[in-house]
Symmetry: C2
Subunit: 105 residues, 2 copies
């Protein structure tokens, strides 16, 4: 996973509408227009949000007839979650070293 992949994942999550889309499609797959119907903005705007999430690989699309069905991608979400946990781990490790230092006198 390159830096720019991670950039795009967090960027995709840095918007309330997009996080809400993720919530919806994790709960149940649905078409782009189902999603568009849920927000007070143009279809094109929602479609752009979907495209951002798709580029970030947080969702995938699957054509069904004339509809495009949007699914959540659990794998990418897990990667993002693990990344944040890695920062906690860095902190924990440093804390341990701090502890070493404090107890070494």
């Amino acid at each position: 996973m390159s830096d720019s992949d991670v950039d795009s994942i967090f960027h995709a999550l840095a918007d309330t509408t997009r996080r809400d889309i993720v919530t919806r499609v994790m709960a149940r797959e649905q078409s782009v227009s189902d999603l568009a119907g849920a927000y007070a903005m143009s279809f094109a705007a929602v479609q752009k949000h979907v495209a951002v999430l798709e580029r970030a690989m947080l969702i995938t699309k699957d054509r069904r007839g004339r509809e495009q069905i949007v699914h959540g991608d659990l794998n990418t979400l897990r990667k993002a979650a693990r990344l944040l946990e890695a920062y906690e781990e860095i902190w924990r490790t440093r804390a341990d070293r701090m502890d070493d230092i404090l107890t070494e006198d």
Copy 2:
């Protein structure tokens, strides 16, 4: 935690330099100019990145003499991590319901 708080946290994390700053300050607290020295960009640019992280509450600053010492804020990181885990939970719950549906015939 408001939506815009979450927006600012993920936005702050959506940049390689800023994630690197988080890594550094989680490992060891350091001054703004220590950080600035580590990147091939102006002091002002690094200072802006630090300001973005500070607004997102991912770091805090603490004046020590003429230096400004930057610390990582584990708490905010944990909140972000838990948020991502919540999406996984939504997915898991839906999966369970799927399972219910598949076994109910």
